[in-house]
Symmetry: C2
Subunit: 343 residues, 2 copies
C-alpha cells in the first residue's frame, strides 16, 4: 500500500467503524515499586527487560519486593487506555480471572469508556500481574506472571468487534503463550478480510529474539502499521545500525513508527520519512508505558486523519506525560495536552 | 503526668521495648482516582470527609468511579508505614480477609519491616477498601467499605505485642465497628498496665461527632498523646475557637499535637506550647494521609528522644512529602528528608 492509503484511516474506514482501535493483549495488573540496581542484581533480574516468570517465582519475588502500588497495565491495554483518554473509541480483548485483580483491570479500562467484553476465566490461574521495579534512573524492569491472560484462545476473539474496528492493534508479548498466538493470527486475518488495518508493537527486544522468524513473517505479510523501539527493530533485522533497519522496514509495512527514547522517533512510510523530537519533560520518573503511550497518541492521530508527522508528535506528547510519573496509565488529561500542543 | 515524663519515651521505655509504636486500626486498601466537584455532587458525597458505606453502595460507586490506582492505606497503618520508613520499629494489628487485596495490604506493610501477624479472616466480608476521590484542589473525599476490618475483635489483640510496644497508637475510625471498639479498649488497658503510652488520632470531625462522649472519656482517662486537626478538636469540645480548644485539651492529656493544614501545627504539653510551621511544598497534589504522616513523624521523633518542637517539625516534613503526590504511603525516602532538615 502507499502513503496515500493511510489517509483513508481518517476517512471512510474510520467513519464506518464503531471503534477506532481494538487492542488485543495480555490483561495485566502492574505492581510497581521503587528499587535499586543492587536488588536487581541480587535477584538476577535483567534490567530494562520484560521476563516471564511462573506463579512460584512471582510469589517469591513479591515477598522480597518493597511496598508497592497496583495499577492496571498490559501493553496493548495501556495503549487503548491512552487512546480513550485522548477521546478515541477503543475496544479491548484480553483475559482476566474472576478475582479481585481481574475486577480492577476490567473496571479501569471500562471506566475510560473502552468496550471490554472478554469473559473472565472462572477457574485456573489468577489474573496476570507484572512486578515492576523502577530504579532511580527511571528504568523499569518487569517480571510478568501471565496467569489467566495466557489462556486467551481464538474463541475469545469476537469477530464482530474485530470487523467493527478500523485498526486491530496487537502486542508482540501476546506471542508468548501459544493459544494467544493463534488468537492473534485469527484476529489479524479477520481484520484484513474486513478491509481493516493491523498494527503490531514488537514489545521487547528479548520477545523479538524469542519469536524473530514469526515476527518477520507477520511484519511482511500481515502488519500495516509497525511500532518498535530501536533495540527491537535492530533485533528484528539482526543489524547493528538504525539506518539499515529503517531501510529494511520501509519496504515491509505501510507505516513504521520507530521510537528512540530521548532521541525522539522516526516515522517511515513508502515515500515519507519524518523525524520527530521527543517532548522534553522536567524529570523522567518511570519509563514504564512510554512505548505504549506513544502508540496510543500515534494511532489516535491516524484515526483522526492527521498527517504522519502530527501522529508522531501526538505520540511524543503522550509518552512524555507517562514517563513523568510512576505507572503506565495517564494521570494528566492527554486530550488537553495534545490540543494545547497542536493548537 | 508532666512534660518531663515524655522525655522518658526516648530513654528506658523505648530501650526496653521491642517496638517503638504499635498501630491498631482498619486494614484498608485505598482505591484512588481523580475526580471533580460535579462527580461528588452528583453522587451525594460529602467533600473532604470519610463516610462509611456498605458493600452494595461500594460496588455501585466503584462502577461509577474513574480509572483508579490501588495502594495500601488505613489511617494507623499509614502512620506505622511512615514510622518504619523513617527507621522506627513498627508493629500493626488490623484485620484483612485472605483475598488478593488482603495479600497486598499484608505485603506492603511487612515489606517495610513492620510486624503484622493478625490472622486474616477466612470467611465473611472481603478486605476493606476506601474509594478516594481527589479533586483538583487536592482535597480527598473518602468512602469506606470496612469489610473484614470491621471484624477485628478483642481476641485479635496480641497482648504481648502491646506490652512490647513503647506506644500503642489507635485511630478514632476504629471506634465505628463495635467489636473493634472493644479491641481498642483492651489494647489501651494492657498498654497502660505495662507502663506504656497510649496515643489516639481523632481521625475525622464526623467520626468525633459520632462518638464524642466516648472520645472525651478516652482523652481524659486513657490517652497520653492526642493527634487531631483543627476541625476535629473543635468538634470534640464543641467550641468555635481554636485557642479555647487548646486550653481545654491542655489539661486532658500529656501531649496534644494539633494540625492546622497550611497553618502548620501546635504542640501543647502541660508547660509547653510550640507553634510549628508547615513545610512548604511546590504543589499540593493530594492531601490523603497528611494527618497520618504527621503522626508518623511526631511519634518517630518522640521515640528517638527528640524535643516536642523537633517532633512537630519531623511531622511537618513527613506530611509535606505525602501531600506532594497521590496516595498516603511515602514515595521519597522520609529518613533522608528528615536527616537533611534536622542536620
Amino acid at each position: 500500500m502507499s502513503g496515500t492509503a493511510i489517509n483513508v484511516i481518517g476517512g471512510t474506514l474510520v467513519e464506518t467503524r464503531k471503534y477506532d482501535v481494538l487492542g488485543i493483549g495480555n490483561a495485566i495488573v502492574d505492581v510497581i515499586s521503587h528499587s535499586d540496581d543492587t536488588f536487581l542484581k541480587n535477584n538476577g533480574l535483567a534490567k530494562g527487560a520484560m521476563t516471564l516468570i511462573d506463579a512460584e517465582a512471582a510469589e517469591g519475588l513479591y515477598r522480597r519486593m518493597g511496598s508497592a502500588v497496583e495499577s492496571s497495565g498490559g501493553s496493548a491495554a495501556n495503549t487503548i487506555a491512552g487512546l480513550a483518554a485522548l477521546g478515541g473509541r477503543g475496544a479491548f480483548i484480553g483475559k482476566v480471572r474472576n478475582d479481585q485483580l481481574g475486577g480492577i483491570f476490567a473496571h479501569d479500562i471500562r471506566a475510560l469508556g473502552v468496550a471490554f467484553d472478554t469473559a473472565a476465566a472462572t477457574t485456573g490461574a489468577p489474573t496476570a500481574r507484572c512486578l515492576i521495579f523502577v530504579t532511580p534512573d527511571a528504568q523499569r524492569t518487569m517480571q510478568t506472571f501471565l496467569g489467566a491472560s495466557a489462556t486467551l484462545t481464538p474463541a475469545d476473539i469476537d469477530a464482530d468487534m474485530v470487523r467493527a474496528s478500523a485498526i486491530t492493534y496487537l502486542e508482540g508479548y501476546l506471542w508468548d503463550p501459544p493459544p494467544a498466538k493463534e488468537a492473534f493470527e485469527k484476529a489479524a486475518t479477520i481484520a484484513h478480510e474486513a478491509g481493516n488495518m493491523v498494527a503490531l508493537s514488537l514489545s521487547d527486544a528479548f520477545c523479538v529474539d524469542r519469536h524473530r522468524a514469526d515476527f518477520l513473517r507477520l511484519v511482511e505479510g500481515f502488519v500495516d502499521i509497525l511500532f518498535a523501539n530501536e533495540s527491537e527493530i535492530l533485533s528484528l533485522y539482526q543489524v547493528d545500525d538504525f539506518d539499515a533497519a529503517l531501510q529494511r522496514v520501509r519496504g515491509h509495512c505501510q507505516v513504521a513508527a520507530l521510537t528512540r527514547s530521548e532521541k525522539g522517533s522516526v516515522v517511515v512510510a513508502s515515500d515519507e520519512v519524518h523525524v520527530i523530537d521527543a517532548v522534553k519533560v522536567p524529570k523522567v520518573i518511570d519509563t514504564t508505558g512510554a512505548g505504549d503511550l506513544y502508540a496510543a497518541g500515534f494511532l489516535f492521530g491516524l484515526t483522526q486523519g492527521r498527517s504522519l508527522h502530527d501522529c508522531g508528535r501526538i505520540g511524543s506528547i503522550c509518552s512524555g506525560e507517562i514517563i513523568s510519573h510512576y505507572g503506565a496509565r495517564p494521570e494528566a488529561s492527554l486530550a488537553e495536552l495534545v490540543s494545547q500542543a497542536l493548537r
